[in-house]
Each structure stands twice: as C-alpha cells, then as structure tokens.
C-alpha cells in the first residue's frame, strides 16, 4: 500500500468524526447559541456509548456487532441529554454562553473520569480508569478500491464513516432546504424577525443545541473506537476545539467546513507517516501532533477578516428588547 493511500485512509477516519462534530456546532451557532461545549459533549457521548458497549460485550461476547451499533446509538443519546444542560443554562437560565460551554467541558471531564473509576470498581470489580473497546472492524469496497488514489477513500473504511456521511447529507438538507433550517438560521441572525413571523426562538435554539449534542456524541464514540480504542480521559485532547476552529474557517457553512476538517485530518496523518518513514524517535510525533493546531492559528489569521459570524451569536434573546 502506498504512503499516499495510508495518509488518505487514516486522514478520513479522523476527518469525518471531526466534520460531524463541526456540523453540530454549526447547527448550534447558526441558531445563535455559542457552543464551546463540543469537547465535553463528545466526551460524554463517548462515555455513555462505551459504558453500554462494555455492558453488552460482557453478555454477548466481543465478536458480536451489536455492542458497536448500540454504542453509537447510546453515544448519540448521551450527547443529546448532556447538551440539554447547555441549552437549559443558555436559554432558560441566561448564563453567559462562553462560560457555560467551558463549564460543560470541565464538568464532563470530571464526571466521566469519576464515573468511569467508580463504575469499574463498584460494578465491574476492577480498578481501572478506562473502558476497553478495541478498534472497530473495517471493510473495503471491492472493485472501486482498486482505482488509484480515489480508491483509498473506499479502502479499509470504518462502518461509522458511512453513517457519518449519510447523517452529514441529511444535516445539510435540513439546514439549507427546509423551513426548519431556514428558521434556525434566521434565529442566529435576527431572532426578532423569527418571533414576529410566529416562530418560537427558544424552542428552535433548544433543538439546535440538542442536535449538536447528538452529533458530537456520535463523533466522540467514533474517536473512542478508532484512535484510542478505549474510553478514558485521553478522549479530551481538544478535538472539540479543533471542530470549532473548523467551522470558523468554514464561515459557519457546511461544505467549506468539510474542507477545513480535511486539511486537519490529512495534515495529521501525513505528519505521522513522515515521522514513521524517516524512522524518527517517537518523541518527534509530539511535534507532528501540533500540526493541526498550528495550521488552525495560521489559517485563522488569514481567514478571520472575511469571516462573518451569525449576527445574533452569543446574545441572550430577550423578547421584550428591540
């Protein structure tokens, strides 16, 4: 297998979860709610998913595919339920949305670390700070995968990548082609207009934040099943913030955001391949790890001038104000 193929295969398995999380962020922010909580949401989703998978694996064995898909489902549920807290804080309790987001992240990492240890000790009877999941099975599409370069996108694909692509298309359709999507986008730019037109701003924003929770939860369990092969506090390495940087580049639009996520994913896997190819010691992979973050900063410097955040982003909506 050529190096280019490996870069694409590894890059895609990182890009797509990042992208689906960024889509969630776009939903939330286009509706006017700043969402720095993505990091915590994906962690909480991964935790709930991994817990369910661990319980199921104990009764069904590790060969069954059921725990894998149930983990996906419950990660989505876990992310959604946890996102409800962010929505409540921002919409009902009128908290500062930036602070609320950061609080969500801190609480998520504290809670999941505590619960993981407690559950392992009190229920599974083992002192451990992680849930081992193993790496998801992969599949290769016969035929198409033989095409040079392009075929790499169909080689050794994780099943969750397919799920993500399908959901991304649906998310695109809902955001840009339905009344709900239009209303959601309007909530972020001019909530008073939505109110005047008979829409419910609070309800729309609530749903948008829940969507971001659901999608981030899915992303979290995907990271757990691919990069880390387990759930532990390793899940909090800033992928949520990378996703945020992704949609800021993408100017809060889906397709440009995909481009940004592709840059992150590919630069990351390319860096790893270069370290391996040159036979450098493992400490050098630390230097490679900074590539996506440095790229983020550099690109933000060049792109942020043309960026237009949703006009009402981060503002607490007050019906009585004009």
């Amino acid at each position: 297998m050529s190096i280019l193929n490996t870069i694409i295969i590894d890059g895609m398995s990182f890009t797509l979860p990042l992208f689906i999380m960024a889509i969630g962020g776009i939903y939330s922010e286009r509706s006017g709610i700043t969402n720095l909580a993505l990091e915590g949401l994906q962690g909480m989703g991964a935790f709930v998913g991994a817990l369910v998978a661990t319980i199921l694996m104990r009764s069904m064995g590790t060969d069954s595919a059921v725990p894998y898909y149930m983990a996906m489902l419950f990660a989505v549920i876990g992310g959604t339920v946890y996102a409800m807290l962010h929505a409540l804080l921002c919409i009902r309790f009128r908290a500062n949305q930036v602070i609320s987001g950061v609080v969500m992240n801190i609480l998520a990492s504290a809670l999941t670390a505590f619960l993981t240890k407690s559950i392992n000790r009190n229920i599974f009877g083992a002192a451990s700070d992680k849930f081992d999941l193993g790496v998801s099975a992969r599949f290769t599409v016969p035929g198409i995968s033989k095409i040079p370069i392009l075929g790499a996108f169909f080689t050794r694909v994780y099943p969750f990548e397919v799920i993500i692509v399908v959901i991304a298309v649906i998310a695109w359709y809902f955001l840009y082609r339905t009344t709900f999507g239009m209303r959601l986008r309007a909530c972020g730019d001019n909530p008073h207009a939505v109110d005047a037109a008979g829409g419910d701003v609070a309800k729309t924003r609530f749903i948008a934040v829940l969507v971001s929770g659901a999608l981030s939860g899915l992303a979290g369990i995907c990271f757990a099943y691919s990069i880390s092969a387990k759930f532990s506090s390793d899940i909090y390495v800033g992928y949520g913030y990378l996703a945020i940087a992704g949609y800021i580049f993408g100017n809060w639009n889906l397709l440009p955001t995909l481009g940004a996520c592709l840059i992150f994913g590919m630069s990351r896997s390319a860096g790893y391949q270069i370290v391996q190819m040159l036979g450098m010691p493992s400490a050098y992979s630390d230097l490679v790890m900074i590539l996506p973050y440095v790229l983020t900063l550099v690109l933000l410097i060049f792109l942020s001038k043309n960026n237009h955040a949703p006009a009402a982003l981060g503002e607490i909506y007050d019906k009585s104000k004009r």
Binding site: V102, A110, L111, F114, Y241, Y293
Partner: protein, 400 residues
C-alpha cells in the same frame, strides 16, 4: 453595595448546593458524606488527623496546603484581569506551562545561588507568561481571532512542544518527568526543619497576598481599572467615551499572562520541582471556578481559592481514608462552576423579587394615600368651585 451582598448570597448558595449534590453522590456510593468532607479539612491541615508520620503535624500539612494555594491565587487573578475586560483566558494552564518550562531550563538547571536564582525565576516566569498572553491579545485585536480558540490552540502547541523538549533533552528516566530543578531556584523552601517538623514555606504566598491587594487597588481606584470595566461591560460605549479599546484588550491579556506566569513559576518551581510532560494541569481551569465564585474581585478570589483548593488538595487524603475516587473533588468543583454560571439568572430573580416587594410596599402606601384622598373628597365641592373659578379666569384672559 446591595448587589455585592446579593452576589455573596448566590455564591454561598452555589457552594452549599454543590456540596449537597456531592453528598448525595457519596451517599449513593454507600459512604458517609460528613466524614468525607471532614477528611478534606484534615488533608489540608485545617483539622487534626488521627495520626501523623514522622516530622509531620497539622501545621506542616497546613504549610503544604498554603504552598498549593499560592499558584491558584495568581491563576485566578489572571482569569479575573482578563474577564474584567470581557476576555476569557482559558489558556492559563498553557501560559503556566510555558513560564514554568522556561524558568526551569534557564535558572532551574543552572548553578546560580539562591539570592540570584529565586528573583530570576520570578522574572523569567513573568516574561514567559506575558509573551503568551500578549500574543493572544494581539491576535484578538489585530485579526479578531476569538481568544478562547487561540488560547486553546496555544495550550496544545505549548504542551506538545514542551513535551518534545522534555523527552529529548530534560527527561528523568526514573520518574518520567523533567529533571528536578536545583533547590536554590525553588520558590518554596522545601522541607525546612523547625522544631523537629518539616515545613514547606512558600515565598510566593507573600507575593500573592500583595498582588491581591494591589489588584484590588487597581480595579477599584485607578483609571486603568475603570477602563477595564468599561471595555468589559460595553465595548462600543467605551469607545465613544474615548477609551482605547484595543490598547485595553492587549494590556489586560498581557497582565493576565504575566499573572499566569507567576502561577506557573510558583507551581512548577515551587509546589513541584519538575514538569510532567504532555499534561495540562487543572489549576488553569479551576481558576475559572474561583474567578466565577469570587465575582472577579481580588478579595473574593482569595476566599474562593481558599475554598476550592481545600476540595482539590484534601481529595487525596479523603480518597485514601474514605475509599472514594479523588475525582469526586473535580466533580464538586465542576458543580460549583455550574451553579455559579447561573448567577446572573439568580441575581435577576432576586432583583425581580426585590422590585415586586417594593411595588407591593408602594401599592400599600398608595392604598393608605387613597384613603387619605378619599377623606379629602368630603370637601370636594369647594375644590370644584375653585376649578370653575380658574376656568372662568382663564377664559377672561383669552378674551383680553
């Protein structure tokens, strides 16, 4: 004064609610929450332990706790300076790491004597933090990059780059941490024997207390403090008032970075004497809880950091005594954060209740006034006549 009083109420309620929620969790795990909380105090030398190892006493525990408290005061002040100007410095951990690393490799591994090394550590620590803070402020004002995103990116970049250098140049193969710094450079007089007991005496604590009152003065009594507040409350209004918003933003981020640098120096070259690679410490995030709880007021911060650090520091002892995971401490801190984040809402509700009460009082007053006017009505006839007379006078004036 009244809102300050209300704020204190909300803060106390937040803490009590969080402790209550924590107690419920501990109860569910089948442990006694009161014992667990008492263990927290014992772990910080604020309550006597049943027995002590050689050279240890309640006072040595207390000295170690104050050593642990010192970086938090700096970190929370750092958060407050930025937050006053409406900036969210979530990069405190990264700034601490940069300053700690720079001070370690320049002074910590040198053979300088203590009177030169200790001040130099502080200077280099401050410079390191300042550089990172200023960069974030510059990116914010020049390119309008959200400070939260840029400081988190810098957090990870700092963490990985420093981890790279520690692994390749400064690793201690046994502890898997960076090599221990010289005692001369350490800002804590480590394990000083006084009367048979070994104390940790943090030099930084005195500086921290000075800083608290210095910033109290700056915030409340200086033009700069006023400008910070104006920019934080309403940037547009501040601009119209002739305040240079850009200058204030950069300056507040720079000062915030400098304080984070002090926190880093007192943490990595004080409480600890080495750096664990690839780890961003939680102090930078706990500082947010402290700042929120203390309402970004320096004295409030001093009290709040005292409280939060009891939970963080005492958790190790609690974990060993009560058999609870020490992570429960972070959960309780997180809950305090969660409740404090809603403080605007609670304050609003309290004000609403206040104004409703005032309205009620007003109405009651009006009612009594109504009664008195009703009494006046008995001689209403005369006043009517008066009016008629006035009208006719007016009419005459018009005729003229």
């Amino acid at each position: 004064m009244k809102t300050k009083h209300r704020f204190l109420q909300v803060a106390v309620i937040s803490v009590l609610l969080s402790l209550l929620a924590g107690a419920v969790v501990i109860l569910i795990l089948g442990k006694n929450p009161l014992n667990a909380y008492y263990n927290l105090l014992q772990g910080c030398g604020l309550a006597p332990k049943p027995k002590y190892a050689g050279g240890k006493s309640m006072l040595t525990d207390l000295s170690s706790y104050i050593d642990f408290l010192t970086p938090m005061i700096f970190a929370a002040l750092s958060y407050a300076v930025a937050m006053r100007a409406g900036l969210f410095n979530i990069g405190i951990s990264g700034q601490m790491l940069v300053s700690g690393f720079l001070a370690s490799i320049t002074v910590g591994y040198s053979t300088l004597s203590a009177p030169i090394a200790k001040p130099l550590v502080i200077v280099i620590g401050v410079l390191g933090g300042t550089a990172v803070g200023a960069l974030i402020g510059y990116l914010k004002y020049k390119f309008n990059i959200n400070e939260v995103v840029s400081s988190i990116m810098l957090n990870y970049i700092a963490s990985y780059v420093i981890s790279f250098f520690i692994h390749t140049r400064f690793i201690d193969p046994v502890s898997r941490q960076s090599k221990t710094i010289s005692d001369a450079a350490r800002l804590t007089l480590h394990q000083v024997v006084i009367g048979g007991y070994k104390y940790d005496i943090p030099i930084g604590f005195a500086i921290a207390i000075v800083m608290v009152f210095l910033f109290k003065f700056i915030f409340d009594r200086t033009v700069f403090g006023y400008e910070l507040k104006a920019v934080g409350l309403n940037r547009t209004a501040a601009r119209y008032a002739g305040i240079s918003v850009k200058r204030t933003i950069i300056l507040s981020m720079t000062i915030s970075g400098a304080l984070a640098g002090l926190a880093g120096a007192t943490y990595y070259l004080g409480y600890f004497a080495s750096i664990q690679p690839k780890t961003l410490i939680s102090t930078g995030y706990d500082a947010i809880a402290v700042g929120l709880l203390g309402n970004n007021d320096p004295v409030g911060i001093l009290v709040a950091s005292f409280l939060i650090q009891i939970i963080e520091k005492g958790s190790t002892y609690m974990s060993s005594q009560a058999g609870l995971e020490s992570e429960i401490a972070s959960v309780i801190t997180g809950l305090i954060l969660l409740f404090s984040a809603c403080n605007t809402y609670f304050l609003g509700r309290m004000q609403e209740a206040d104004s409703r009460r005032q309205e009620k009082m007003l109405r009651a007053k009006e009612n009594t006034e109504d009664i008195s006017t009703a009494e006046n009505k008995t001689d209403g006839g005369t006043s009517n006549n008066q009016e008629n007379k006035d009208n006719s006078e007016n009419a005459e004036e018009v005729k003229r």
